[in-house]
């Protein structure tokens, strides 16, 4: 990625003065066309994130003036058992990431054989990407409910004596959320891998075949190493989604419960602010989330750059 100074080169030589005038007009037009984006993103995104940093050092209910408490705010947050439980939930969700990457990777291999009708399968698998978390959460709640679809399937195959009742226990409810997450992340990651596979030159495969490589060794020795960048991208996207885009799913599916069982960091922020009126604590947690996501994104940029 190259940002930074690109020199303005004009194709044919011009008289010096006209060129200067033109360059000035160009600069003015450039600045003018930048105004909307700076106004919008500046006032509604960059200023608020700055405010979050400020309020993270305060005690604040959102209405009366905030009281500065400094780093004690962070000590207070990290010493509260609820917050530790929330961080544990986030850490536990990391276990879903390998599944959310490996399953679509294997299916992408199947689709990439380009059997007849592969486009239809691709469309079907990608379909959940278009569906709201709210809708997915309604179906998921019904699926994992004690009297729901999953129990129906278990009864049907003669395992009716077993009642997993996932949504009633803290850890298992989080597992149910993670399964739902993997299901809806599937399409996005598969598309990433298919895009990656389409960049691999057919000649490499032909050469490998001539050398007598079998299907599996082609997959592990050639395709997967060449997909490294795409696997990294999928891991990062899945991580960011798991940590910062599951609010609606959790809100509808479990409301963060039972107990703090499915309260992840992003849901904790919402709850602290809008049900507990602890805007200060919510801002402190907001900074923790921001820093986490920022670090993950920076790692991605480093990965992408190191491959150049």
């Amino acid at each position: 990625m190259t940002f930074g100074s690109q020199t303005l080169t004009t194709a044919r030589p011009r008289p010096q003065r006209a060129r200067g005038r033109l360059a000035a007009r160009r600069r003015r037009a450039g600045l003018l066309f930048t105004i909307p984006v700076v106004a919008l993103v500046g006032s509604l995104l960059l200023v608020p994130i700055g405010q979050t940093f400020y309020y993270s050092f305060t005690t604040w209910d959102g209405f009366t003036p905030a009281q500065w408490v400094g780093f004690a705010a962070y000590r207070r947050l990290f010493s509260s058992p609820e917050f530790v439980a929330v961080l544990e939930n986030n850490a536990f969700m990391l276990l879903a990431i390998p599944v959310a990457v490996i399953v679509p990777l294997s299916v992408a291999f199947l689709i990439n054989t380009h059997v007849r009708g592969w486009q239809i399968f691709r469309s079907v698998f990608f379909l959940p990407t278009a569906v709201s978390w709210v809708v997915i959460a309604f179906v998921a709640r019904d699926f994992f409910d004690n009297k729901g679809i999953l129990q129906g399937i278990l009864n049907h195959v003669g395992l009716g004596f077993w009642h997993p009742d996932l949504l009633s226990h803290e850890r298992s409810a989080l597992i149910a959320v993670m399964i739902t997450f993997v299901w809806s992340m599937f399409g996005t990651n598969m598309i990433i891998f298919l895009a990656g596979m389409s960049t691999i030159d057919q000649e490499i495969y032909d050469a490998a075949r001539v050398d007598g490589a079998g299907n599996l060794s082609v997959m592990f020795r050639i395709t997967i190493p060449l997909l490294k960048r795409f696997v990294q991208f999928a891991v990062i996207i899945s991580l960011i989604t798991a940590f910062s885009a599951l609010f609606s799913l959790i809100y509808v599916m479990t409301s963060g419960g039972p107990g703090y069982g499915t309260t992840t960091l992003e849901f904790f922020i919402y709850e602290q602010a809008f049900t507990e009126q602890n805007f200060g604590i919510a801002a402190t947690a907001g900074v923790v989330l921001f820093v986490g996501v920022f670090v993950i994104s920076m790692i991605q940029l480093r990965f992408l750059r190191s491959d150049d």
Binding site: V47, T129, S132
Partner: protein
């Protein structure tokens, strides 16, 4: 290898290839069932009354009827459309002009501006939503459409700007040169030449943002709390609690809410895929 000499071997490879293909199809079909089952469940459950749902047989339109009684569905669909459309409009204004300025015109600090806007992509919604809420509440914006429109626009613009800037950067400089020779100003070049050239990227942005905004819950939940203004996702998620266990009605509502985004997806799939994979390209 001569075909005549190896009849046995040919039969074996043919057999192997067929089983291979059979296994591939079997795998793909299993995944297809897993991915499609929820849609089938929604459709067929919505066609049952609550009683029929518990009995597990019979069909009726009761739940659809109940849905329209419990929720102002038409109004909420209109709200969703208005908010999504308004936000996409703002995003396009900000992102196309920024793409032109940062990708084509490029001035002294445009690289820095681009870097700042692009890094705003990494701001998670929950990290900025609290001050955002307080700021807009102080301005008296809560429960007005434009509150949600502004927030969605701000959230969608960084990625749209990133996409359009990289797109404009690839357009040849000669286009600008030639237009300047023809006596066009930089404003006219943008509207008459650059915008038409950017249509594929614009469609990608529209499709991505449509799905994102239409499907979102949090912004509507916070900024539009009255039944008159709220979008369909908020209506569904906060359905009056006496209906909360009415699964068939919820499924009918889910279908209504999901359908527009699914239609957009089916029609513009290609653009959506391109937008997603562009996040990777440099």
């Amino acid at each position: 290898m001569s075909a005549v000499g190896w009849p046995h071997r040919r039969a074996v490879t043919l057999w192997r290839r067929r089983t291979g293909r059979g296994l591939i199809y079997a795998g793909l079909l299993v995944v297809a069932v897993v991915m499609l089952y929820p849609f089938w469940f929604m459709a067929h459950t919505s066609l049952r009354s609550l009683q029929q749902y518990y009995l597990g047989r019979g069909y009726s339109l009761t739940s659809w009827h109940d849905l329209f009684n419990a929720l102002p569905v038409a109004r909420e669909l209109f709200n969703s459309t208005l908010i999504t459309g308004g936000a996409i409009g703002l995003i396009l204004v900000a992102a196309t002009s920024a793409g032109y300025a940062l990708g084509t015109l490029r001035y002294r600090f445009s690289g820095v501006v681009f870097l700042v806007i692009a890094s705003a992509m990494m701001v998670p919604m929950q990290s900025m939503i609290i001050p955002e809420y307080v700021n807009l509440a102080r301005l008296g914006f809560i429960n007005h459409y434009y509150a949600a429109i502004l927030v969605y626009a701000a959230l969608g613009t960084p990625f749209a700007t990133f996409l359009l800037t990289t797109y404009f950067r690839r357009l040849p400089e000669d286009v600008i040169e030639a237009s300047l020779m023809d006596g066009l100003g930089y404003g006219k070049i943008f509207f008459r030449i650059m915008l038409p050239l950017a249509v594929p990227a614009i469609v990608t942005v529209v499709v991505l943002q449509f799905i994102q905004i239409w499907d979102d819950l949090l912004v509507g939940l916070l900024f539009l709390q009255t039944p008159q203004q709220r979008p369909i996702t908020v209506g569904l998620a906060t359905i009056p609690s006496q209906h909360f266990l009415d699964v068939p009605m919820l499924m009918a509502g889910s279908l209504v809410s999901a359908l527009p985004a699914i239609v957009v997806y089916l029609v513009f799939q290609r653009y959506l895929i391109r937008g997603l994979t562009m996040g990777m390209s440099k």
